[in-house]
């Protein structure tokens, strides 16, 4: 069994039990052990990097130190956490001067960043540790009637030079993982464009316009649902549909479903165990094509 320190972050435990449940159950079923370490904090994603980048790198490095001490690699679910931790890990491994500077800050906490662990996105755990073939064989409930619009969001892929998940202009990892579940991955216009999630709360009208475009394009492509990776994208597109209806007078009724939820369903996990009622846009139409 392969073990990882699970980096849970803030938004998932605060708002999205559906994400956490599906990820924990699916990874356990695939033989990945997740360890919950004490004393972790916020990863310091782009909104905190916007306030102070040096502080953000130091806090991210502190969290990586906890995994180093436990002798475990880290796995992230949220793309904000992935961006922050994988970026910091790569930057400090590549730049001795920066590493020394951050370690001077970390000395206040009794930690030292060594740079001997990896930060992985859970999609990488699926492709590298589980493997596509074993994943395919583990599917007991193929999603063969389902047309899924893959949505990467921004921070699983970019900045690609540091994150190295996939080609930032032509990624295929998520589409491949969707197809391993028996579903059809549908192409749509401006697939890689931002959902506007990080503008929510400061420029809502721009955020909703970007989310609306995503919903428009996936609807036109005939998708049954959008598969997301990030809790911010999930909120922008799920909760966002209620706001778009109210403020822009447009109705989509497009289910937004985390890839981990689709994975859990395909692995035969009981939908009643997945807190699917957390979704603002009901996923009944998706379930009726699966069960």
């Amino acid at each position: 069994m392969t073990g990882y320190a699970l980096f849970l972050g803030c938004t998932i435990p605060a708002r999205q039990p559906n994400y956490e449940l599906s990820a924990r159950k699916a990874l356990a079923k695939l033989g990945i052990e997740l360890v919950d370490l004490a004393k972790m904090t916020c990863c310091c994603p782009p909104p905190v990097q916007s306030i102070d980048l040096e502080t953000s790198l130091a806090v991210a490095a502190y969290n990586i130190c906890l995994a180093e001490e436990a002798d475990l690699n880290l796995v992230t679910l949220c793309s904000g956490c992935f961006e922050s931790l994988a970026m910091t890990n790569a930057m400090l491994k590549n730049d001795g001067e920066l590493k020394a500077k951050i370690n001077r800050i970390l000395s206040q906490t009794g930690k030292e960043f060594l740079g001997n662990k990896e930060v992985k996105h859970y999609l990488q755990v699926l492709t590298e540790d589980v493997g596509l073939e074993r994943l395919k064989q583990s599917v007991s409930r193929p999603l063969s009637k389902l047309k899924v619009a893959a949505f990467y969001g921004c921070h699983a892929l970019r900045p690609s030079e540091l994150l190295k998940l996939d080609d930032p202009e032509r990624p295929r990892i998520l589409e491949g993982l969707i197809e391993m579940l028996g579903a059809k991955s549908v192409e749509y216009r401006n697939k890689l464009k931002c959902c506007g999630g990080l503008l929510r709360g400061s420029s809502d009208e721009l955020a909703l316009e970007l989310a609306s475009e995503k919903l428009e394009n996936t609807t036109k492509a005939g998708a049954d649902c959008i598969a997301t990776l990030c809790p911010f994208c999930f909120v922008a597109l799920d909760m966002g549909q209620l706001q778009i209806k109210h403020k822009l007078n447009k109705t989509y009724d497009m289910p937004i479903i985390h890839y981990s939820e689709l994975l859990s369903l395909a692995l035969g996990i009981d939908p009643k165990e997945l807190a699917l009622e957390t979704h603002k846009i009901k996923v009944d139409n998706v379930l009726s094509k699966i069960l």
Partner: protein, 171 residues
């Protein structure tokens, strides 16, 4: 002419200040081709933000307009511009550097200020309510581990983040 002299000094001082900040190092490589603007999802839907223009104004030393204006806060941090820049200007990071300078001078949208406050009080930018925490066992989720908020506060103190945040809250 004092006006001209100020302009020259300003245009030298501000880009140099940005360059010295973490994230801002590549700003002077920009040759204004506009690849960033044509890759920007926000610039497509509003004329209030254009990454090429933010960099241009910064390079011209228009410090106040850049730092106190709304434009830098309209970047959605998607990094499309940074991926495509032929000069390898790390544009999204340059915008962080500009925002970091703005924060130091007290210009920061409320929601970011709320994140900063939650970070130092709870160790998380989004608070996990007692209600949600108590509900975890009924959903089949393990208890949450305690956060390392004490260590985090030491980091905020070592970088001066806490003082800037307190000044902002006191203002």
């Amino acid at each position: 002419m004092t006006h001209g002299k100020e302009k020259t000094l300003g245009s030298l001082a501000f880009p140099e200040a940005v360059k010295r900040r973490l994230g801002g190092e590549t700003i002077t490589l920009c040759y204004q081709c506009g690849t960033c603007a044509s890759s920007c999802p926000v610039a497509k839907i509003t004329d209030r933000f254009n990454p090429r223009e933010v960099i241009r104004l910064s390079l011209l030393g228009e410090r106040n307009e850049v730092v106190s204006g709304d434009a830098i806060w309209l970047c959605c941090s998607c990094y499309n511009c940074q991926e495509r820049c032929p000069q390898k200007v790390e544009i999204a990071d340059v915008i962080y550097a500009l925002r970091n300078i703005a924060f130091r001078e007290g210009y920061i949208p409320n929601i970011y200020s709320e994140f900063a406050g939650a970070l130092s009080s709870d160790g998380r930018i989004v608070k996990v309510s007692r209600f949600v925490e108590n509900k975890r066992p009924t959903l089949g989720l393990p208890a949450l581990q305690p956060t390392g908020v004490d260590a985090l506060r030491k980091i905020l103190s070592a970088t001066g983040f806490d003082k800037l945040q307190q000044r902002r809250e006191g203002a």
